[in-house]
């Protein structure tokens, strides 16, 4: 109640991010900020640099130039800092990337043990709670190849959540899923958003963007073309290019 909203520092700040792969300009100077508890959705055509922005936030890609702050900490090349920040930033991939040699439960326990240094009992307790949260407690002892795509993605979300991240990054989490499994994953994400998790989501799911986003960014050719509230973004986009893109995918 008494908290001063302006004293809240933004969870993510990006200033003038540039990323080149050889001669390819993947990101051409992107600046954005995400306040604590907000959901930012990034959309845009293929190759527009959405994944690259996301991957720079936890240093899976090393920016060519620009500055990134996560929860007030500047990302540098210092390995200790990077590992520390990564533990605070959960990431969910299009291809799930579960560890195939470990059960669902062990997938969720591993990083808790080796990064958070939690003991076996505690990490198992947390893992089971997270599996409960994503709705598949009965799959604890299954290996990834015994799970459906939707279930695998939910385990991957649980694995990230078990680290108690301050931010969750999602890179097209439903793009590799059969249509009937998309909803179960989106529901979990929507629930997370409602609980106040700070999220950056790259997605083509416009329904999710409309319902869950606090803000939408439209990217093209490595630049932010438009940044807008979901209402205006879908009903009255400012930019011609946004309109063209929306017409194309909402047809």
């Amino acid at each position: 109640m008494g908290a001063v909203p302006s004293a809240k520092q933004p969870m993510i700040v990006i200033k003038n991010l540039v990323k080149q792969f050889g001669r390819i300009d993947a990101v051409n100077g992107v600046s954005l900020r995400v306040e604590q508890g907000k959901v930012l959705v990034i959309i845009g055509p293929s190759g527009s640099g959405k994944s690259t922005v996301l991957r720079c936030i936890n240093h899976l890609e090393v920016p060519t130039s620009g500055e990134i702050w996560v929860d007030g900490i500047r990302l540098t090349h210092n390995h200790k800092d990077i590992n520390a920040i990564r533990a605070e930033v959960g990431m969910v991939f299009q291809q799930f990337n579960l560890f195939p040699h470990l059960t669902a439960l062990e997938n969720i326990m591993l990083a808790q043990k080796v990064v958070r240094k939690r003991n076996r009992d505690e990490s198992e307790r947390v893992a089971r709670r997270q599996l409960e949260r994503v709705g598949i407690p009965e799959k604890a002892d299954n290996y990834p190849d015994q799970l459906s795509g939707g279930q695998q993605q939910r385990v991957a979300i649980a694995r990230a959540l078990a680290m108690n991240p301050k931010v969750m990054l999602f890179d097209e989490p439903t793009s590799a899923l059969d249509p009937e499994m998309i909803k179960e994953v989106l529901d979990v994400m929507q629930e997370l958003a409602k609980e106040g998790m700070t999220m950056v989501v790259v997605t083509h799911e416009m329904g999710f963007a409309r319902n869950a986003a606090d803000e939408i960014i439209f990217m093209d050719k490595g630049l932010i073309v438009e940044q807008n509230s979901p209402q205006e973004f879908f009903s009255d986009p400012r930019e011609e290019r946004t309109r063209a893109f929306l017409n194309q995918i909402l047809r």
Binding site: L60, F99, V115, D145
Partner: protein, 287 residues
């Protein structure tokens, strides 16, 4: 009508039988037959049984050399393989130098080189250090008193084999590590694991499962190449055979027996590897 049908049936069962015959592992049957003939010789022919008991004196050495050198080769290979995928240029270059040198030299030459060049050179350096440290350690420090003769030819032979196979296994491990998708490392790192933790808990457990069958085949190859230690006079079964032949000139009997011993071991081992591969194939996790 009925007659043609029954003829058709008969020819089809006949061709089934022919197919079944042609699918039998004839090579194995042939080998087993040859083995039985030899076994019969061992039991009935005095010369053969004498040779067998002579060669058997070397079997412990053959197995010992193979096991020890292979274990060391796996450890060396794992280290060098990790070096080959390292982004640290110094480590990468050192590992690559090792692998390329090993791959470019005949194993026989490597054995001579380790036994008669590297080992003495090592002690020359050690003695020089010992000499320099006399003021600190005194006149009788081990670095000064030890010399090349302290390392038996058996040990030198095993070091040479371990170095040689370590170079091969490095590439096996490298291929295994590189066969694990990039997403695995990224997922592990995104959870805050360090490179070393990700390797240890995520990449290597998967990579090692994949390289087990090639490692098994390399173990068989090592068993065969262990015969090379005979050039240093190490008394493995090959050396026992050479010694016996040089005194008796019983070439066919001796080398039949020697070949029989190697084949028995390698065939049993390769059937074991195949069985393991099948089991792995059924369950991708290999557990």
């Amino acid at each position: 009508m009925a007659a043609t049908q029954s003829i058709a049936k008969r020819t089809s069962t006949q061709s089934n039988f022919v197919q079944w015959l042609s699918r039998l592992p004839w090579w194995l049957l042939f080998l087993i037959l040859a083995g039985i003939i030899l076994l019969y010789q061992f039991l009935t022919n005095e010369l053969y049984s004498v040779i067998l008991s002579k060669l058997t004196q070397g079997i412990v050495t053959t197995i010992f050399v193979t096991l020890v050198a292979f274990t060391c080769a796996i450890i060396l290979g794992l280290i060098a393989g990790l070096g080959r995928v390292s982004r640290n240029r110094l480590i990468f270059n050192l590992a690559t130098l090792y692998v390329q040198v090993i791959r470019g030299l005949p194993m026989l030459v490597q054995i001579f080189y380790v036994a008669f060049v590297l080992t003495p050179a090592f002690f020359t350096v050690l003695n020089a250090i010992g000499m320099a440290l006399i003021p600190v350690l005194g006149e009788t420090n081990f670095m000064l008193t030890s010399n090349t003769q302290d390392v038996t030819l058996l040990a030198r032979a095993m070091i040479a084999l371990a170095l040689a196979y370590g170079g091969f296994e490095a590439e096996t491990f490298r291929a295994g590590i590189e066969s694990i998708g990039r997403g695995q490392m990224e997922a592990a790192r995104s959870l805050g694991m360090s490179y070393v933790q990700a390797m240890r808990y995520v990449i290597l457990p998967q990579a090692i499962r994949r390289v087990l069958p090639p490692l098994g085949n390399d173990f068989i190859a090592m068993l065969k190449d262990s015969s090379l230690v005979s050039v240093l006079g190490v008394r493995d079964i090959t050396q026992e055979a050479r010694l016996y032949v040089s005194a008796s000139f019983r070439y066919p009997e001796t080398y039949n027996t020697l070949a029989f011993m190697y084949l028995t071991m390698t065939i049993i081992l390769s059937l074991g590897v195949k069985w393991f591969e099948n089991r792995m194939g059924k369950n991708g996790r290999g557990s």
